[in-house]
Amino acid sequence: MEKLKNFFDFRDLPRLDLGIAAAVGLALLVFPFFPFSSFAMSTVIQFLMFSLYGMGWNTIGGYGGQVDLGLAQYLGIGAYATAVSMIRWNTPFWVSMPVGVLIAIAWCSVIGYSVFRLKGHYFAIATIATSLVLKDIFEVWRFVGAARGLEIPATRFSSPDFLHLFFTQDDTYYYIILAFFFIGILYVNWFRKSRLGFQLRSIKDNEEVARSLGINVQWAKIKTYAVAVTFVSAVGSFHACYVKNIEPEDTMSLDISILIALMAMLGGAGSLWGPLIGAGILIPLKSYLKEWLGARAGLVGIDLVIYGAIIMFISAVEPRGVWGIVERIRRRKRA
């Protein structure tokens, strides 16, 4: 019971933050009642999904300082676990998602056990290498549809099917991912104040000191990695049901991994709201730039040019992201 209370305990945060967060949360709750276009709807769903990915990355990358650039492989594992079992055995989503999470955790312990000995660049590139190896395997593995991927046929189940997460209306998908989103925030809120969260921050500051204080560094990292992977893989399963058509290229590519890391980076790694801010800025920007400039004006690639320029600007000017700017302003006010 005591533990459960910690999930809902936001008292250490400034009141202003909580007010804004509550307002945004309410706005998200009532969002489908307003007549927005289906494009706006899918953008907001994307936003929720990427905030969740970002929250996952934030546990290991933000609080722990281990820059993982291969998280998309777990997205792929989750998505494929759901898609394969749904197509072959009609397994409900609520069964295949935990199974996918378990597979992802098993795989991440194997990877994590070996790569967590590395630091800095070496660690980041090693995670990229592992995700590319897995992607190459998926691209030739016929059981999972090889390079052409898998498709859940549009007539497979009758529409409101909560077991298989099969709807024709985006609204229902929206509320399901929104529920995930709130659970994710509550979990990270608990995580940052948990024993593991504090251990992780001390590892980030100085690994030697952390070890000398009796923290089992390797084990703490692997546990946190499992948390991050759970987030990514669970939302990956949702992605399979929502998009219904998955390929190795758009679930496991390096671009997705970097995008995930970027959510937290841009918003502010190691803060509770960071990934949400990052996703809130990047996802609408990306999809609307693509819609306006890419599709209408016929300028293919200009959206990502601007996107790349923004990443360059942020990393050169304010490496701690938007949250870094906010904190700097606050500190100045206090002084």
Binding site: V67, S114, L132, I137, G301, S315
Partner: protein, 304 residues
């Protein structure tokens, strides 16, 4: 037997070009501990430079190597003073993502300017020429030229680093930045120079590569990963290491050929049943992973 010798020769030849591609990455990493994700994009721009200038001027693509080198040098220096200089002040995370942003920027700029279709060079002194060495070993002139140029470039960079004052200043900066500054070396200038040389070598490699490899805006990532693997194997920051590691990685990419040879040699049916071609580059990634676990310093690494 022909398959074996053929694969060996092909692997070593392409390996030298891979080494040239990785040379710039290892120089830059050695100087300022920054991993450049946009490295493959520099290569792509070198390929486009050689292809477009030779098509526009009607000259042979080989003559465009100096042009590509000059473009690369300018690009590298511009990247350093305009962008990387600011990145170096930030934490490692920002550096990783910053160069990734550069990669996205350059790749999609190329997509915007040149379109997404595959482009190849159809005419040129080297294109479609080959030397038959006997034993069924055919050496394409394009790859031979790449290998020769790679050896020349490595020799040039080695001489620059060890025989000239500027080069020695660069090595000093790489070894101890603060100490170098006390000795009156402008470390800022050395960094800019390292970016210039690093980018120039990789664009030259691109100008050679485009003779036998079609170019699209997306060609960069594969070569970035190959270059990472080479640099990791050779030791981050080591120039001779990059050369030998390039040869090894070249041989690794020829694993499908060796696989065919052993299939033929042993006559086993299960080996024949497995096609290795889709995994051509998977072995490179795997090699990177294993090297990092077993010997993170690489074969010739001198930095910890």
């Amino acid at each position: 037997m022909e398959i074996l010798v053929g694969s060996l020769v092909a692997g070593l030849l392409i390996g030298m070009l891979f080494a040239l591609i990785a040379l710039g990455l290892t120089i830059i990493f050695g100087m300022m501990d920054i991993v450049n994700f946009a490295h493959g994009e520099f290569l792509m721009l070198g390929m486009y430079t050689a292809l477009l200038t030779s098509q526009a001027s009607g000259l042979d693509p080989l003559l465009m190597i100096p042009v590509a080198g000059a473009v690369g040098y300018a690009l590298g220096v511009a990247c350093y003073y305009g962008f990387v200089k600011f990145l170096l002040r930030g934490p490692m995370v920002a550096q990783l993502l910053g160069t990734f942003g550069l990669m996205l920027f350059l790749r999609n700029l190329a997509l915007l300017l040149f379109g997404s279709e595959d482009r190849t060079i159809h005419s040129g002194v080297l294109v479609n020429r080959a030397f038959d060495l006997g034993m069924g070993v055919v050496v394409p002139a394009t790859k031979l030229a790449g290998a020769v140029m790679a050896v020349i470039s490595f020799a040039a960079v080695w001489l620059l680093m060890h025989r000239t004052r500027t080069g020695k200043a660069m090595v000093a900066t790489a070894l101890n930045r603060q100490g170098a500054r006390y000795m009156g070396i402008s470390t800022e200038r050395m960094n800019g120079l390292a970016w210039g040389i690093g980018a120039a070598t990789v664009t030259i490699a691109g100008a050679l590569l485009v003779n036998f490899w079609s170019v699209t805006p997306y060609v960069g990532l594969l070569f970035t990963m190959i270059a990472f693997a080479i640099v990791a194997l050779g030791g981050f920051g080591s120039v001779p290491g990059a050369f030998f590691a390039g040869l090894i990685v070249g041989l690794i990419t020829e694993i499908p050929g060796f696989w065919d040879f052993f299939t033929y040699l042993t006559g086993s049916s299960w080996m024949a049943g497995i096609s290795m071609t889709p995994f051509k580059y998977t072995w490179v990634y795997l090699a990177y992973f294993l090297i990092m676990l077993i010997r993170p310093r690489g074969l010739f690494g001198w930095k910890n």
